[in-house]
């Protein structure tokens, strides 16, 4: 699976760039991401720090993420035929919500994706539903709707090639594209 290793390499490159204190956005990151890296070991860079309103985030794990930096984990995954956000990804979404609240001029495109099963146009709608559920989660957390756009790619942009459950699981996803 050549793309998988390619994506990991990209992810690694991107993470190294972060550690180096570079805050530039790296574009779409569809591959598997190492979510354990906290990235708090360097000082804030780039966008200025705006004081947080603190809604629902006081002292929680999201505060480990420096407000000036885009959270590193930018892909969350879904069960088959589901747009339910799994509890394991709630900290990821909370971190993005905090970042977006703190950086009012930041904009994110939520890319919704499905696996390849089923018809393309119906999957286009399913991808939108997934990204929409992430969008609503962010809005409930106080993010302005004007900062968030939903674009569904349906099954057209798979993260990995392959026709088994492992591949499907990696393709059913929403990507935060800043």
């Amino acid at each position: 699976m050549p793309f998988k290793s390619h994506a990991r390499l990209l992810a690694l490159t991107f993470s190294l760039a972060l550690i180096a204190g570079c805050s530039s956005t790296g574009g779409t990151q569809d591959g598997t991401t190492d979510g354990s890296r906290s990235g708090t070991d360097s000082s804030d860079a780039g966008t200025g720090q705006v004081s947080s309103s603190g809604v629902g985030t006081t002292g929680d794990r999201a505060s480990q993420q420096a407000d000036g930096r885009i959270p590193e984990v930018r892909t969350i995954y879904f069960d088959f035929d589901s747009d339910t956000i799994k509890s394991q990804y709630e900290p990821v979404l909370t971190a993005h919500a905090r970042y977006l609240r703190s950086n009012g001029d930041a904009r994110v495109v939520l890319q919704g994706h499905t696996d390849e099963r089923g018809t393309r146009e119906y999957n286009m709608a399913l991808g939108e539903r997934r990204a929409g559920s992430v969008s609503r989660f962010l809005e409930v957390q106080g993010v302005s709707p004007s900062q968030v756009e939903v674009v569904s790619y349906g099954e057209e942009r798979p993260a990995v090639q392959g026709h088994d459950e492992e591949a499907y699981a990696e393709n059913r996803r929403v990507v935060f594209d800043y």
């Binding site: 050549p2 793309f3 390619h6 994506a7 779409t28 569809d30 390849e116 099963r117 089923g118 018809t119 393309r120 146009e121 119906y122 286009m124 709608a125 399913l126 939108e128 539903r129 756009e149 939903v150 674009v151 569904s152 790619y153 057209e156 942009r157 798979p158 993260a159 990995v160 090639q161 026709h163």
Partner: protein, 429 residues
């Protein structure tokens, strides 16, 4: 390599540049055991080597339809080119029911193709005429003869002179390249309509066969375009916030049905092409998409998951009433009307996977047609005899076709990459 680099710079529009890539071939995957035996005798020539074997093109057309079983050339004891030279009794002894003979001769830069169709059992000539074809049009001439032979015997208009549009995808991730192509119905003569580094999908022929509507992500967002094939000129019809999906032409070519989510959720809308006004038809808290216009223009099919999973509904344009049509299984999507409006073709999920099925509208009975497991995007030939669809062969996306009765099927493999999203043109002559 050069193509790759230009694609990097953005979307390239190449109006009908013939390219060897994405060329499709044909493999018969299931023959119809009730097919009518026919013999298409190699056409006589005046000694010149012709660029196309006209009789072979005709024979392949007739075989692909599933209605005919052409006799192998090895079994032909005689090669007459005129009806008066035909020994009916001997062809009859081979169980041949019909016989096609003919001759190709030079006519200026082009050709004259004389052909005759004989009923072997009745020992009589049924049809005979001379067709002229331009220098590059021998195949077109052969398809025309196939159309005449098919209609004379079956009473059904032939669809061999039609074309198909389809989408190709190569590469993975950020290097993915998408192409929109048009080719003859037998896969020959593919011409690129559009190339992009972003997804292209849902091509749909205008009823006059002059234009394609499609969805392209080239701006980073989905938008519906209409492109005139002869000139390459195109217009962006919609770029609303959210989904801009699944364009479908009205039979009069004046309106496009589509799925938009600009008001929140994917709903069916109809756009008046002249003034670009859009009218919303559905209003549900569910997904409504994949519209298709009834041949009489009075209703639309669409897919909705308002009952929980996707099912096919019909929207009556006069009354606004919506009726659920499919009840077999928990996944029925992407319905397409048969040209007579009496049946629909759709993707049905069963324990065998996602397959092409036909449902008769009167009885409601659903019959699975394909033997593959990963089918998508059915599109019906304008004479209703075949359905082309996308499926998978190994790891590759390929086009396949199955007869409307499920008895015959063939595949159109591509040399490289995935091929998908087929759309069968209307009659073009």
């Amino acid at each position: 390599m050069k193509a790759l680099m230009t694609a990097w710079l953005g979307v390239m529009m190449l109006c009908f540049t013939t390219l060897a890539q994405a060329q499709l071939t044909i493999e018969i995957t299931r023959g119809n055991d009730r097919a009518t035996p026919i013999a298409v005798v190699p056409f006589a020539t005046d000694g010149e080597e012709l660029p196309e074997d006209v009789a072979q093109v005709i024979s392949d057309d007739l075989e692909r339809s599933g209605h005919f079983a052409p006799l192998s050339r090895d079994d032909m004891f005689d090669r007459p080119s005129r009806s008066e030279d035909v020994s009916y009794g001997e062809w009859s002894a081979l169980d041949v029911r019909y016989l096609v003979v003919g001759e190709v001769s030079r006519d200026g830069d082009g050709y004259r193709i004389r052909y005759e169709l004989m009923d072997v059992s009745g020992s009589q000539r049924m049809l005979g005429e001379t067709v002229t074809a331009g220098s590059g049009e021998l195949r077109g001439g052969a398809h025309f003869i196939s159309d005449q032979v098919f209609e004379e015997i079956t009473g059904i208009r032939g669809a061999f002179s039609t074309r198909i549009a389809y989408v190709t995808a190569q590469g993975v991730g950020d290097d993915q390249q998408f192409g929109l192509y048009v080719a003859d119905a037998d896969g020959h003569g593919s011409q690129r309509v559009l190339e992009s580094g972003q997804p292209i999908l849902s091509p749909a022929w205008s009823p006059d066969g002059q234009k394609l509507a499609y969805v392209s992500f080239e701006s980073g967002r989905p938008a519906i375009y209409v492109q005139e094939l002869a000139s390459g000129q195109r217009v962006r019809m919609t770029s609303f916030e959210g989904l801009n999906s699944a364009p479908a032409w009205s039979p009069d070519g004046r309106r496009l049905a589509m799925s938009l989510s600009k008001d929140g959720r994917p709903e069916i809308y109809v756009m008046d092409i002249a003034d670009r006004s859009v009218q919303r038809l559905t209003n549900s808290s569910s997904i409504d998409t994949e519209p298709d216009w009834a041949p009489d223009g009075e209703s639309l099919l669409f897919t909705s998951d308002r009952s929980g999973g996707p099912q096919i509904y019909r929207y009556d344009l006069a009354s606004g009433e919506q009726e659920r049509l499919t009840f077999t299984g928990n996944y029925n999507a992407r319905g397409r009307f048969a040209p007579d409006g009496d049946a629909i073709f759709l993707i049905h999920r069963s324990s065998n996977g996602y397959q092409v099925a036909r449902q008769d509208l009167d009885s409601g009975r659903l019959v699975t047609l394909s033997e593959t497991r990963w089918d998508e995007s059915p599109s019906v030939a304008p004479n209703g005899t075949m359905v082309i669809f996308a499926t998978r062969q190994g790891d590759n996306g390929v086009l396949s076709a199955v007869s409307a009765d499920g008895r015959a099927s063939y595949r159109l493999p591509s040399a490289q990459g995935d091929v998908r999203e087929p759309a069968w043109s209307p009659f073009l002559n």
